[in-house]
Symmetry: C2
Subunit: 133 residues, 2 copies
DNA sequence: GTTCATGCAAATACTTTGCAGACTA
DNA sequence: TAGTCTGCAAAGTATTTGCATGAAC
């Protein structure tokens, strides 16, 4: 939280209670806009949908948060303060597990096949989690 | 196209001129709803946005087409009649290249680390294509 | 002819913009 | 106090639904 406070300050931006709450609820797992809204409301009582959108847009720009795509039209937001990782999305219960993989070989394969210069990649898995099997 | 015709017939569904056109424009590359709409309109003159949505929903259900997520809130549709592959998305010109990779090692890695049962996965790369570098 | 599909209108959902008042620093 | 941020209202997009007409088989 401290690093985030400094980052905001450096950009002339303020660490409001709404921003704190959004960061708070994102600690556990990636959430959709609606989920963030609901969670913050249930804890703090008041936050507007528009404010959530604005905070997220600003956080993405500052690199505090990143957007992930899990399934069509399901955008989620995730704190970037953790290492690079991927997700295992359970199609039955909706749970999201994180996983760390070594994808160097794949990136090399891309380089060999194509002259495309890769900056980022997304890799997500869909299936059933241990519990739901 | 013939296999699609049979598939539709088997489900009591009809191969209309609109459906043919949608399949037609999807032959080249994955497109958004708006792109499909524009392309079909420019060729054939008339199709409604609602019809495009309905055709796509139905095609996804039948497995004729699949949704791919290239960046947040950018859903595209792609024919499934081709082999499993991934995409290289140029962030500069928007072009999409296909690429085939061997991701067996990764899938094995997932199995070793977790008891999650993977059914599908998505893997997309973002960066700059040869032309734009 | 029957039944499914399309187009239009309108409803719903999602996201962005404008502005006055509230709050952070 | 200055300047950013929030909440509310409303505008803009994107997507879905209902229904009468049209088209496929």
């Amino acid at each position: 939280m401290d690093t985030i406070a400094k980052l905001l300050k450096g950009k002339g931006q303020r660490l409001t209670s709404q921003k704190k709450e959004v960061i708070q609820v994102l600690q556990k797992k990636p959430l959709t806009v609606l989920q963030i809204l609901t969670l913050v409301k249930s804890k703090k009582g008041m936050i507007d949908k528009v404010t959530v959108y604005r905070i997220l847009t600003s956080f993405v720009k500052l690199g505090i948060v990143k957007e992930i795509n899990l399934g069509a039209r399901e955008v989620r937001y995730e704190l970037t303060n953790c290492e690079h990782h991927h997700h295992l999305v359970c199609e039955s219960c909706g749970q999201i597990e994180d996983i760390q993989l070594c994808e160097d070989a794949l990136l090399k394969e891309v380089q060999q096949q194509s002259q495309f210069k890769v900056k980022e990649h997304s890799l997500e898995f869909f299936g059933t989690c241990k519990k739901c099997q």
